[in-house]
Amino acid sequence: MSVASIKEEQGKIVIALEGDIDLENAGEVRKALLANLKQKKDLLIDLSAVSYIDSSGIASLVEGLQVARKQKNELSLVSVSARALRVLELARLDKVFAIHADVAAALAARP
């Protein structure tokens, strides 16, 4: 299971991912992101319970980010686990994604 929950908070969709995200289930993450982006709302991706993420998981996040930007929505990462942060840093994507401490911080940061 890589997509743990999907809920809406203050008009933003919060998708919590969990466990190991790799080639086996990155497709599931991609599908969940793209399906929710169809609602034309901002997405918050909670990575607190992600124990492992590899290039295919990161690729799904990047694709989500690109689609969100194209339709003028935000895709931000929240509660990023140390492991996920390390991988984002390795890919030098830690500056590309908006990263917030948690959902509350992300909601407060709304422009």
């Binding site: 080639l23 086996e24 590899d54 290039s55 295919s56 990161i58 799904s60 990047v62 980010l65 690109q66």
Partner: protein, 591 residues
């Protein structure tokens, strides 16, 4: 058949009747025919024939002739004229029915028939009373003769002949019923056999099922999945007979259906358990071992629901197998089952039902030790032959089976081509490399999560720090994914071997595939200023590993990628040593 009621006529009649009865195999037809003949011979207005029920407490009218039909009427033993005749085992003559306190007047009141006189004879076969026949009112209007009279004698003769005929017809019925049950059991047995897998000597797995009766409560099954993994199960249903056989058929069918998609034995048992709990009558349960075996790697995962622990024999020792950690299926609805994973390393996995270990020789029981010894004895030859040898030893040694017997074995030695290959490196590792472990697995993304703990443990053994271990696992995972996606193009049947070596200052991984050669020059990490999916894996490998290079293979197909990572502290201390040495030289030179 018209005859006058003379003595010789009665005897002739009895003989004719007996012959015609003997030819009849149907009890109802025989009873009806007997009564009609008796009434005709004795020239009476009515008559009825009663047979004792199975419990021997009620007499039930099986045929009646005359103006009143009383078929189905039940009379308790000892009551009424009929009940008394049987209870007292004697012929009764009632000259005036209405004066006899035992006479049951209600039937007459209802029908308008007036019973005047009755003659009732018990029917017996040997010592066994089976019922009675009674006749009412002679057509002549005269009463029946007395107890020793002609009528009484004739009725008793007729009753005896009828009793014999009915008994014969009953026996014939029983034989027919037995024949029907036998045919149905044969069919059930055939259906059960059809649930067992077709033997395939190309697979390193084999089973034997030998029911103690026509139908079995045991079963086994196995089948190959598209990626070469073999799903297998062995089960034993509590109880015996048709109930157990039906539950066996249900469980086996469910396993075959679920086992094709569920790649987690513990989860599969949990679903099976819920299904059996929902629909199985109380008190029945199934013990079962189910698992997955990969011939390419020798890895075997299984879960055990209350079944005897399978025997696992490695080439040099017997593995202490785990006791069942969950109850049988069908007892409690929400049960958790546990997966166990074992690398068979060329060994033998044997699951069996208790019918095998409970083989007896006098007071002696075979037991697990006995089975182990027999498997030792039958250690050579094709797997099927070895299992048959075990059973032949028991049969020839005079051991007696007490229960259904089922045996399922997996011979990793027979599967061992890929297993051997991972242990024979394509290119010899450097002398300082200390081989830690090797794995061979299909190019299936579901394998990635199984690989990570093994790599973590190896990196820990090479004294890497926690962050380095996580990075190393990421880089190795990316390299494996590259093979899956690029070398094999997503074909999960492709084979990958991984050999992990410890270096004095780090770790070396060698990943081999058997796909067409890749052009190493074309593999480049993508520029990181482009924010786009894909191409990150190679970047991760380059960023994390100190060296990643393809080693030319002397011949044959495939690619060999060597990844080396040195410990950060080892690199730093090596650099520090170099600096110190250089500094020393300088100072020395300065002197």
């Amino acid at each position: 058949m018209t005859m006058t009621p003379s003595d010789s006529g009665a005897l002739n009649f009895a003989a004719t009747l007996a012959r015609s009865f003997a030819a009849s195999l149907n009890v109802d037809a025989t009873v009806g025919q007997a009564l009609a003949s008796i009434i005709q011979l004795l020239e009476t207005e009515a008559g009825s024939l009663f047979l004792l029920d199975d419990a021997g407490s009620m007499l039930v009218c099986r045929a009646s002739v005359g103006p009143v039909k009383i078929d189905g009427l039940a009379v308790p033993m000892g009551q009424g004229i009929v009940g008394r005749a049987v209870a007292e085992d004697r012929l009764l003559v009632v000259e005036n029915a209405y004066e006899d306190k035992n006479f049951f007047k209600a039937a007459d009141a209802k029908s308008g028939f007036i019973t005047r006189s009755i003659l009732c004879a018990p029917m017996r076969v040997g010592d066994k009373l089976i019922g009675a026949v009674q006749v009412l009112n002679k057509r002549s209007g005269h009463p029946f003769d007395g107890i020793d009279g002609k009528d009484a004698n004739m009725l008793q003769v007729m009753a005896n002949a009828a009793a014999l005929a009915i008994s014969n017809a009953r026996l014939a019925d029983q034989l027919l019923e037995q024949e029907r049950i036998k045919r149905e059991l044969e069919l059930a047995s055939e259906i059960q056999r059809s649930l067992l897998p077709n033997e395939d000597d190309d697979l390193p797995i084999c089973g034997i099922n030998r029911p103690i009766r026509e139908v079995s409560g045991d079963f086994y099954d196995y089948f190959e999945l598209p990626d070469g993994t073999i799903a297998f199960a062995l089960g034993d249903v509590s109880g015996k007979g048709m109930n157990a056989a039906l539950l066996m058929a249900k469980t086996a069918s469910l396993f075959r259906c679920l086992g094709k998609t569920i790649r987690d034995p513990a989860r599969l048992l949990s679903i099976l358990n819920r299904e059996i709990c929902e629909t199985t009558s109380r008190g029945m349960f199934v013990t079962m071992v189910a698992g997955l075996y990969e011939p390419a790697t020798g890895l075997l995962r299984f879960a055990n629901a209350g079944h005897l622990p399978p025997l696992i024999k490695f080439p040099d020792h017997l593995y202490e197998t785990v006791a069942p950690d969950a109850p049988p299926l069908g007892i409690l609805r929400d049960m958790h089952f546990v997966d166990h994973e074992i690398d068979l390393k060329g060994g033998l996995f044997v699951a069996f039902s208790d019918g095998l270990t409970e083989f007896r020789y006098g007071d002696e029981e075979l037991g697990v030790d006995g089975l182990n010894q027999l498997l030792e004895y039958a250690h050579d030859g094709p797997l099927r032959q070895r299992l048959e040898m075990v059973l032949a030893e028991l049969d020839q040694g005079g051991w007696q089976a007490k229960d259904d017997l089922t045996l399922l074995a997996i011979d990793d030695r027979a599967a061992g081509k890929a297993w051997q290959r991972e242990r024979v490196p394509a290119v010899a590792a450097p002398a300082e490399a200390d081989f830690l472990f090797g794995l061979s697995f299909p190019a299936d993304p579901s394998r990635l999560k199984m690989m990570r703990p093994a790599l973590e443990a190896a990196a820990k053994a090479c004294q890497f720090g926690e962050d380095e271990i996580q990075d190393l696992v990421l880089a190795a995972g990316e390299a494996i994914e590259n093979i899956m996606i690029h070398a094999y193009g997503g074909q999960v049947k492709g084979e990958i071997t991984l050999a992990v070596h410890r270096l004095p200052d780090g770790i070396m991984l060698r990943l081999r595939d058997f796909a067409p050669r890749v052009d190493a020059g074309k593999i480049e990490p993508r520029p990181l200023d482009e924010v786009r999916p894909g191409g990150l894996g190679t970047h991760f490998i380059r960023a994390i590993m100190d060296d990643a290079s393809f080693i030319p293979l002397p011949d044959g197909e495939g690619n060999l990628l060597e990844l080396v990572k040195r410990r950060k502290n080892a690199t730093e201390s090596a650099e520090a040593t170099a600096v110190a040495t250089a500094g020393g030289a300088d100072s020395k030179g300065g002197n």
